[in-house]
């Protein structure tokens, strides 16, 4: 289950999170970013590396319903 959430309104699309992702689980275009749920292991390295607090690790019980459904 994907527990990492990207807050797209805050994102600067800089690619820092992509560079540290061991699983190649983040896709970044010019101004579009998404986590590839099948590849993400929730390791949180992207969360720690984001310079501007765009990524969040949600504890299971706090996940928004839409995210729990795997939809974006």
């Amino acid at each position: 289950m994907l527990l990492i959430e990207i807050l797209p309104d805050k994102c600067d699309f800089c690619g820092c999170c992509v560079g540290v992702c061991p699983e190649d689980a983040i896709e970044l275009k010019e101004a579009e970013i998404r986590i590839i749920e099948d590849l993400c292991t929730n390791c949180s390295k992207c969360v720690w590396s984001c310079p501007i607090e765009t990524l969040k690790f949600n504890k299971k019980e706090k996940m928004p319903k839409a995210a729990l459904g795997g939809e974006r």
Binding site: D12, C14, G15, C16, C17, V18, G19, V20, C21, P22, D24, L28, K29, E30, K45, W48, S49, C50, P51, I52, E53
Partner: protein, 388 residues
Amino acid sequence: MKTDYDVIVVGAGPAGSTAAKFAAEKGISVLMLEKDRDVGYPVRCGEAVSKAGVEEFLTPDPKWISSSIDKFSLISPDHSEVIIGFSDTGYILERRVFDYELARQAAKAGAEVLTRAYVSGLIMDDGQVAGVKYQYRGEEKQLRAKVVIAADGVESRVGRWAGLKTHVDFRDMECCAQVTAANIDVDPNTCYFYFGKDVAPEGYLWVFPKGMGKANIGLGVSGLTGKSCSAISYLNSFMESNFPDAPLLTSIAGGVPCSVTLDRISAPGIMLTGDAARQVNPLSGGGIISGMIGGSIAGRIAAESVMSKKPDHIMTYDKAWNDRLGKRHEIFNRIKNGIYNFSDEKFNSIAHSFLKVPGDKRTLGSLFRTALFNQPSLLLDVAKVFLG
């Protein structure tokens, strides 16, 4: 546009444009693809380069130079300031113009350039890279190439699709936030560096003058620091204490991979260069010149490989890079690891000791010797890279 190129370069930053230029100059067909709509924008960079580094490739032009630098000011946690003067100057660039000029030169050499082209995968033939898949204005397309040069920056996904391990350990990622601010009253020819756990732990904060009272003010902290406190929160608190009323003309984030170069930067049909290859100087975090050097080697070797019809020739790139800069970066990385965890007290005591060094003996080499006097193995490393 053709359907088949000798070389396709992914990414139009300094490394990609330099690779495209060096390859195209040999008369082979080259296409450079850029995911953003603009070459050179947005600028995720402090923009400082050494004069000698830039002049290896370009004749300096005021159009892309914001200011000339002849002094470093290093500020310790207790606000002791050490100033080091240079006989040779550096520049603060105007990257949006600089990158444009590099791409123009690649185009003049014969390279085609296409922006808004997002490379989403590789064409593989028998385990060998044979081209790229890309999205352009809502359409899925593909192009074949004898050599793909991946200059896709900090993300470095293209190399992964070819089976190379490119991701950076999060502790080696310098996570950066920067503003370009106006009404900043600093010396227009000095680069300022601030150190300490309250300013930028496991990294540093920079103030680089851009002329007319503008300055790039930014910092990088390790991903390890980011676990508890983000780059932007450090930057906000520095700005509040030092320049609370400065108008911010730009605010930007970015990642700088500060590690040694990847174990492998070539594989059948593909070469990696610039930030994508982790060719940044891991001590300073500077990646423009080293990326251009990497790009120039990659472009030259790619062209030689195509013209001699020897696909295996691209595998000589790893050694050529390591001989030119890669081994030097290993030394810089050891020095970085030696000073990475210095306490505020240590930074202060280095500054106090160094302030006793006579002005004409103050060099970066003598500063690092002071900083590392009780780590003899690193002193040798300092001697190798800062002297002679």
